[in-house]
């Protein structure tokens, strides 16, 4: 198992390194001088030069990469040009919105999808299966931001149960913050749940066709027991894979949803940073997201090894 995980860890590190080169390189070749952008068109050449020096922009490419990468590793994400605060602080503030949103959506989607997948697989070919999978098929096709608009219309505009947007912060009380995240989380979760339910069902159906299921049935185990004891665990690998992929998607894919609900999250931060050419913020946040994707992939690999004993000895 260690060999397998070490190998995956190595792949993750290589990916991280390549990603850092790509991120740094892409933003480096961009047109536009960040110092000039920060100070505005009226600034004197001297002021721009001074700022360039302050930001380290006058140094060699490699030096700047090393500086950035080492800083990143030690938790120093640099300073935002536009907000003029440490990026780490910005990110921490925004994560307080994005992380609960993404995790909430992930948990919600998993809680909906797995029972639906089990239900459909256990009734393969019957009306319940057709109905559940029809709904899932529809759910996959729904763009989450459109779904969000409909939710706003029904629950905020019409029923007035929850606010239509904005975020009150966590400082005073938890409830208003959570209330503001309910609709966004549901909007994110349902289309993802539809995908996950389909994957869970097809993985289960595939496992249910295998020989060892027949062995378990020949032992006398009733169908529901076979499904839970023998099929579920074998079907977990594709399910866990998709959950891992969805975490990455949810963390970054909140950009649009945060725009719909005017939430001050990571997605909006990066969206604004891109349009304002706040390169340090863009670089750092993208690298952070890539790192979290790599980390989640490692966790997924670890869970493979926990699920499947064959990988432990490989």
């Amino acid at each position: 198992m260690t060999a397998f995980l070490l190998q995956r860890l190595l792949v993750g590190l290589v990916t991280l390194f390549l990603a850092s080169v790509v991120v740094f390189g892409v933003l480096e070749v961009l047109p536009g001088d960040p110092a000039r952008l920060m100070l505005g068109m009226n600034a004197t050449a001297d002021a721009v030069a001074a700022l360039r020096q302050e930001l380290g922009l006058d140094q060699k490419l490699l030096v700047r990469y090393a500086h950035w990468a080492l800083g990143f590793l030690s938790g120093d994400l640099g300073r935002s040009y536009t907000y003029n605060v440490p990026v780490a602080q910005l990110v921490a503030e925004r994560l307080a919105v994005s992380l609960p949103l993404a995790l909430g959506a992930l948990v919600l989607s998993t809680l909906i999808a797995i029972p639906v997948g089990l239900f459909a697989a256990s009734r393969r070919g019957h009306a319940g299966d057709t109905l559940a999978m029809g709904a899932a098929q529809l759910g996959v096709a729904v763009p989450n931001f459109w779904f969000a608009l409909l939710l706003v219309y029904v629950f905020a505009v019409w029923l007035r149960w929850v606010p239509a947007g904005g975020f009150p912060g966590w400082e005073n009380d938890l409830w208003p913050g959570m209330k503001a995240l309910i609709l966004p989380a549901v909007a994110l979760a349902l289309p993802q749940a539809a995908i996950l339910a389909r994957v869970a069902r097809s993985a289960l159906v595939e496992v249910l066709d295998q020989d060892f299921i027949r062995t378990a049935r020949a032992k006398g185990l009733p169908r529901p027991l076979v499904l839970r004891r023998h099929a579920l665990r074998n079907a977990m690998i594709p399910v866990v894979t998709i959950i891992g992929l969805q975490f990455a998607f949810l963390l970054a894919g909140t950009v649009i949803i945060e725009n719909v609900f005017y939430l001050p999250g990571l997605g909006r931060l990066i969206f604004q940073a891109i349009t304002q050419r706040d390169l340090i913020v863009v670089e750092s946040v993208v690298m952070l997201l890539v790192a979290s994707v790599v980390l989640v992939n490692l966790l997924v690999d670890l869970s493979y090894a926990l699920i499947d004993p064959r990988l432990r000895t490989a």
Partner: protein, 289 residues
């Protein structure tokens, strides 16, 4: 006793019969063709001119004159959806073309050659997958400027490793097969075997994947143009229409409902088509049905 594995394919006659039996295939194909027909028709005719602004008619609810109502500039939403379909389909289709055009050869080559080349292709695809796709697409379009072409490139890049992996996995499962070994003893080289034997036998997988990526492309394009990074006004696009509708949900919900339904229907049609195709083409699925 079942020593023999299921044959890889059906005969041509069985194929046609099975195709008509698959409900999702028929429904999916009908929806897809209908959307494509609307998009094509928009080149010659739309109920109203989508570039003409009629302020007097703004935000009209659906009526016999305007089936889906009008937007805040008084444009006919049905006409805009027709023209928007053109844009959505073009972006998603070309992005699939880019993905398949680069990814399939890469994947086939990686499977055929193995070793360092295979490793390189896989690591590169890991790299692309490490970037959350939508975020990177936003970055690319925001940095290189919004517009349909950059949207195509942004979506297309993320299709490349998807096709590379599907092609590689399919090809890897075929190379040890006895019919490929037989072709090798007939002195055929890697390229020839790939073209003659591998590609036709993974075409199923690729076709199904293409419909999935097509559907995802439609969704991604809608997302990008919602953020103002896709096709630029006055060219109507479905995502942009939803953006315009957002602030007017209380007064004119029809502005959001109809473009959204257009997206859902198109994506649904493509997904059904993909499901139907994979049922039809994959003997394993056929047994499971």
């Amino acid at each position: 006793m079942s020593l023999a594995p299921a044959p890889l394919s059906l005969g041509p006659e069985d194929w046609r019969r099975e195709a008509l039996k698959s409900r999702s295939l028929v429904v999916g194909l009908c929806i897809t063709l209908a959307v494509a027909a609307l998009a094509l028709a928009s080149f010659f005719w739309t109920p109203y001119d989508v570039t003409r602004l009629v302020v007097a008619d703004r935000m009209q609810p659906p009526s016999p004159a305007h089936w889906f109502g009008t937007d805040h500039f008084g444009r006919d939403i049905f006409s805009m959806i027709m023209v928007g379909a053109r844009n959505s389909i073009a972006v998603a289709l070309v992005a699939v073309g880019i993905g398949a055009g680069l990814g399939v050869p890469l994947g086939c080559l990686a499977a055929a050659k193995g070793g360092a080349l295979d490793e390189a292709v896989m690591r590169l695809s890991d790299l692309v997958f490490a970037f959350p796709a939508l975020l990177s697409a936003i970055m690319i379009t925001a940095i290189f400027g919004p517009g349909a072409v950059n949207a195509i490139i942004a979506i297309g890049i993320f299709n490349v490793p998807v096709f590379a992996r599907v092609a590689r996995a399919g090809a890897l499962s075929l190379w040890p097969r006895e019919f490929v070994l037989a072709a090798r003893t007939a002195g055929k080289g890697v390229v020839r075997i790939t073209v003659e034997h591998i590609l036709p036998n993974i075409a199923n997988l690729l076709l199904v994947q293409a419909t999935i990526q097509f559907a995802l492309g439609i969704l991604a394009e809608a997302g990008l143009s919602y953020l103002g990074l896709g096709a630029q006004p006055p060219m109507p696009s479905w995502g942009r229409m939803l953006f315009d509708a957002q602030t007017r949900m209380a007064t004119a919900p029809h502005m959001a409902i109809f473009p959204g339904m257009a997206i859902v229907l198109t994506v649904l049609g493509l997904n059904l088509l993909g499901d139907g195709l994979s049922d039809l083409l994959d003997p394993k699925h056929r047994r499971a049905r």
